[in-house]
């Protein structure tokens, strides 16, 4: 790390004491680089054992990396907290302008402690930071509106991020998200509820500092290499159709969870495909700051008002593979406008659309199986494909008029414990399922991954590239998952977007890091990755994680995957092998893994 780089400066905000200060923490950044690495270490420092995720002792930690603001696609902010959704490690990544704004305001990380008595938002512009009154914003349902107001009220247009919560965060729904720049999110694991518990409605950060480099000439060269690569083939699909390009191939393969995974093929996939979205609804493509790929796709939905002729509104709604999966096939919704109307309200209220879709899918099946009735749903008949009933249900999740909807605010695991149906409650480690029923690697990956996310170790990719062609031992699979998850710790510590994983090869990473004063060998880099993964799992075990208690929903064994029917024992063995290996001492583990 270079001496005059502000990456190691951490901004602390104590909402209880209303104090703001900075601390120099070169020790942390030298050893753990930034992003996830520094994030997990700060979480260990800040979050006491057994902390209430919605109590004042649960911190919010936001970190960026040394490459942010220097190289393209190093544009993610990683958030660390104890998850109110799983009661364990909370880690979520988001882009927009969040990372460049934090970095160019002169910070490598932010730590928010305590809880405010009254609603507030935090305002940071370069070296000035304030805790501002948000009483006028509190109670506002739509996260879009909160953004719009702060946008007009605060400086920094073009070089700022506005992170905010909707009503779901205020109401501490355990899968509430934090939105920024309208269309990006800390989506998973409930950071929005943690904001809400602190009476923190928003954070606005702007800055336009410079960042030093070790060697100017070399910097321009390394930059151009990365930029060129970013404009070439590996990112083409993200640029053109976006992640929703995956709908058709996954459906073709038979790995697209449909109607609560009673099927893995959706008969109407062609009606909600990325191609169909682009043809009929793509209204604009946008990018995160310092990312020439621009994968963000916004649908333009024109809707008439029913009570007034010739009155229309046009909404811009972001879509991606996962929201389409969770609110389309998973709920049997086959019309794009229906799907968008449901997505729009979930976006506005600030809920994680993946968790919401999976919870509604479980509730629909639970109603079919008569585990619940219209008594619980207060008259709403949940029917596959009927977006209106789902919008009504979302309204009730927000309003929580009875115990059933109160249960739904805590996720599918919790709801199934009360109402039954855990065989088809599709959560892994407490986190609702992503859109991949590709084979055993995907599911073992959700279970073993530090965040119980498909992005932890991309098991779905191993299914499609390897297991679909040849069977491998559970030991071998565990090794592959671990290797990928370990490498992803490096990427997320540099806060490089996972879509750029094909660009940021180990050699490129080392070159780029050298420009920021990190002189590492590939072995040293791998060791850092391994250490971070171990630290994350240490935190999880400290907080009561027990891999033997991981629930495998029977449903994933009943519905055929592209690799055939899944065997529970094989998945269990894989998770066990993964967990045994991950807790080995990093130094001894490294030569065996790489």
């Amino acid at each position: 790390m270079l001496d005059n780089d502000t990456i190691s400066r951490i901004l602390y905000v104590d909402l209880t004491k209303r104090r703001i200060w900075t601390e120099e923490r070169a020790d942390l950044f030298d050893e753990y680089i930034g992003g996830s690495g520094v994030g997990i270490r700060l979480l260990q420092e800040e979050c006491p054992e057994g902390a209430d995720p919605l109590g004042p002792e649960n911190p919010i930690i936001l970190t960026v990396g040394p490459l942010t603001g220097l190289f393209p696609l190093a544009s993610k902010t990683t958030a660390f907290f104890k998850s109110p959704h799983t009661g364990n490690l909370g880690e979520s990544h988001s882009g927009g302008r969040s990372a460049t704004s934090i970095r160019l305001a002169g910070y490598g990380a932010m730590v928010i402690r305590g809880v405010s008595e009254t609603p507030v938002y935090i305002s940071i512009h370069d070296n000035e930071a304030f805790i501002r009154d948000a009483s006028a914003l509190w109670g506002m349902h739509s996260s879009f509106t909160v953004g719009r107001i702060i946008r007009d009220y605060e400086p920094g247009a073009g070089i700022r991020t506005i992170m905010r919560i909707g009503i779901a965060g205020e109401k501490k729904i355990s899968y509430a998200c934090v939105s920024m720049e309208s269309y990006r999110h800390f989506g998973r694991l409930g950071l929005g509820a943690v904001f809400g518990s602190k009476k923190l409605k928003a954070i606005v950060i702007s800055g336009r500092h410079s960042i030093p480099v070790a060697n100017k000439k070399e910097y321009l060269k390394v930059y151009d290499n990365i930029f060129q690569a970013a404009m070439e083939k590996p990112t083409k699909k993200y640029r053109e159709l976006g992640t929703s390009e995956n709908i058709l191939p996954l459906n073709e393969l038979g790995g697209l969870p449909t109607r609560n995974l009673r099927q893995a093929k959706f008969e109407s996939a062609h009606r909600i495909s990325g191609e169909k979205f682009a043809e009929d609804y793509l209204g604009r493509r946008v990018a995160c700051s310092h990312c020439p790929v621009g994968c963000i796709h916004l649908a333009a939905l024109r809707q008439p008002y029913r009570d007034e002729p010739y009155f229309y509104k046009t909404s811009m709604i972001p879509y991606d593979y996962e929201p389409i999966y969770a609110l389309g096939p998973m709920l049997g919704i086959s019309e794009i406008p229906d799907l968008l109307k449901l997505l729009e309200i979930i976006e506005a209220y600030g809920m994680d659309c993946m968790s919401t879709g999976v919870i509604l899918a479980w509730a629909t099946e639970a109603m079919e199986k008569r585990l619940i009735s219209t008594k619980e749903t207060m008259g709403i008949k949940l029917l596959w494909g009927d977006y209106k009933c789902y919008i009504d249900a979302v309204e009730n999740i927000i309003e929580q008029p009875n115990d059933f909807y109160k249960a739904l605010t805590k996720g599918v695991d919790y709801s199934a414990k009360i109402y039954g149906g855990d065989d088809f409650a599709l959560a892994f480690g407490g986190n609702e399922m992503p859109g991949y029923h590709t084979g055993p690697a995907a599911h073992a990956g959700f279970l073993a991954g530090a965040r119980h996310s498909h992005l932890d170790n991309a098991g779905y990719s191993i299914d499609q590239k390897t297991i679909i062609n040849e069977s491998i031992s559970s030991q071998e699979l565990a090794k592959m998952l671990l290797k990928e998850e370990q490498w992803r710790q490096i990427l997320s510590s540099l806060v490089v977007c996972f879509f750029a994983r094909g660009i940021y090869t180990p050699e490129i990473v080392l070159d780029a890091l050298r420009m920021t004063g990190f002189d590492l060998s590939i072995d040293e880099l791998n060791l850092v990755g391994r250490k971070i993964l171990t630290e994350k799992n240490k935190f999880k075990f400290r907080e009561g994680f027990n891999p033997e208690e991981l629930r495998i929903p029977k449903r994933i064994l009943e519905t055929i995957s592209p690799t055939g029917y899944l065997e529970e024992e094989y998945i269990k063995d894989t998770v066990k092998a993964f967990m045994d290996a991950v807790m080995l001492e990093p130094e001894s583990a490294i030569p065996k893994i790489v």
């Binding site: 603001g69 946008r151 309208s182 336009r208 000439k217 910097y219 990018a287 310092h290 020439p292 916004l298």
Partner: protein, 143 residues
């Protein structure tokens, strides 16, 4: 005479690669030295605007400069003489486009010099370096 032209701001995805490129000319990262700005047009749903010097024939920034630190360049655009600048920031206020950027470290204006470095990094062909016809130097009236 060259100037930076905006071909179609509706194609801008807001990646800000041009802003980072402009700053990078000086061999550093970040945005402190950037002379081009991309911001949303009142919310990202409405797209983006590109803020950069359009090399006016009668630059308003020059008209208000009390020390002739900013003077119209032959053929269009402006030249900056840092030795004459007193850091009054009037030029920033005078430009209705917002294309006079401010170097906070040395308290001096920064204006696009039409070098075209940013153009190479625009992934969507929003900006281009364009040849404009030679124009007579305009006598600037002191306001």
């Amino acid at each position: 005479m060259k100037r930076l032209s905006i071909l179609d701001n509706e194609k801008c995805v807001g990646c800000q690669s041009c802003m980072f490129a402009c700053a990078r000319r000086t061999g550093q990262g970040g945005l402190a030295e950037s002379r081009i700005g991309i911001r949303s047009e009142g919310g990202i749903e409405h797209g983006f605007v590109v803020v950069v010097c359009r090399a006016c024939e009668q630059p308003q920034c020059c008209k208000v400069c009390p020390t002739d630190a900013l003077v119209p360049k032959k053929g269009g655009g402006v030249s900056f003489h840092p030795d004459r600048c007193i850091g009054c920031e009037l030029c920033v206020k005078a430009c209705p486009i917002g294309a006079v950027f401010w170097d906070d470290e040395i308290k001096k204006p920064m204006i696009c010099i039409a070098c075209g470095y940013c153009v190479k990094y625009c992934p969507c062909s929003v900006i281009a370096l364009e040849e404009i016809p030679e124009r007579a130097v305009v006598e600037v009236e002191n306001a």
